[in-house]
Amino acid sequence: MKINVKQMIAHIFLGVLTIVLLFPIIFAIANSFKTLEEATNHIWRFIPLNPTIKNYIHVFETLPFGRITWNTFLIAFTVTIFKSLTSIIAAYAFVFFDFKGKRLLYFTLISTMFIPFTVTMIPNYITVSALGLNDSIWGVALPQLADALGIFLLRQSMRTIPKSFIEVAKIEKVGHLRILSDILVPLVKPAIISTGIIFFINSWNEYVWPVLILKSKENYTLSLALQMFISAEGGTDFTVAMAVSVITMIVPLVLYLIFQRYIINTFALSGIKG
């Protein structure tokens, strides 16, 4: 009986946490189907009295959302792949090689984690413009092909793999790329996935940098499209903004729901350490 009380308290606690975390999402979805008047005056109504898809029609009429979603995906995908690859090989070098100045080099790379984006914004804009990538989604992706956090996290997880694994492979004259792809990557898969997720989500939702680079509507990303519906002077049309928000959420949510079993199981089997 004692255990049951404990469990009940735990469930109540977790239940409250669930409500706190999910409420805003439900709130967003509910309001995206309301008129502005209903959203303003009946905030507690989760099922709108007069549900309307007017907000969605409006945003789809204003902006080419198919194209915009594709742009966002392309940027996020490119950034994720490149960041993951550059981080994997760099982390590998830092863990399994010994060379002069390793610590210093590692430290220098890692310290870029703390560079405020105000430092990089204008110089990178100048660089990207000089390359003619202004108003191009590749201009958005270009400065984000490597990531200090990625190197750091993957190094952490590779350090949990005994060096002897690699030594044995080396003695058998297996090439480094083979060691990486056949031994190491499978072993640190959870870490790669977890950093990959964070790369993807961050890129998907980024807005300060794309705002600077992208000009034409057909090159927009979703978070930039959302900005179009937030106006300081005229007031935000809340229900329309919610419709755009729901559209921005869909792809990452669907991706997560498809992969969640896989993602969580990988973590649960072995943790971040590999």
Binding site: I43, W44, T127, N205, L226, Y256
Partner: protein, 294 residues
Amino acid sequence: MKKIKEDLFALLFILPSLTAFCFFMFWPLIRTVYLSFFDWNMIKPVKKFVGLQNYITLLQDDVTYKVLGNTILYILILLVVNFVLPYIVSFLLSFVIRKGKSFYKTAFFLPSVISLVVGSILYVWILNPVTGPVAMILRFFDMQLPIWSKSEGLVIWILSLITSWKVFGYNFIIVLGGVMGVSQEVIEAAKLDHIPNYKIFMQIVLPMSSSTGVYVLITTIVQGLQYVFTPIKVVTQGGPNYASSNLIYQSYHEAFTLYKTGEASAFSVMTMALFILLLVLEFKFVEKGVYYEN
């Protein structure tokens, strides 16, 4: 000979990251350090050299210290909510409850895929002290939600809450992975010895998953610094009277609201120096206690 070949390989592997950083991180950084000695607004044809004046101005400004204090508070709150709480929840999930585990895992992760711009707009409505749903519930119990967006102190808690809403789920999944990765045999053995669950958790599980811990600790600090920017920008613009500004927002404010490029650069340089110091400390002290295979 073999050693040189090895070194070359290592360099080759680091080169892609290094190249990218040189162009898009180090060169901007050098430029920033250079600009921090000038009085300039990015457009004026003439940059006026002022030596260390920008640094002196900032060090003499009360706002700098206020913002530094805010930053520390933000990081502490985020550490509690996104570092400590995930451990507690992981403990509950792996040691206490039996049913609903996969439901909680899915539910908790969902907000982390959503952008903080969306989160911020949502919370301005949800937590509106006059008309929001939370205020309505409180009013039912004859309580009032304070006007948080204009209250010193409280505003930091609310903006941290908005940020945590997004960050919590991701951190939780990582921590849970680490906790569940601890060998079941060790835990079973401890259970046979009738060691209470919380002791198993504190004395066996935590130390054995400490590499996960470092991961989450560092991401929380980095995010605590950078993610908070968005709610600050969307909800308060640093107000009231800098009560919600943090180091990153303040350097943005100097650079892109006041266009004081020199001072903003000095501010960024000082921010970086501070966090590199933290990083050094992390290397010196925290890493030593961490459990690694090699």
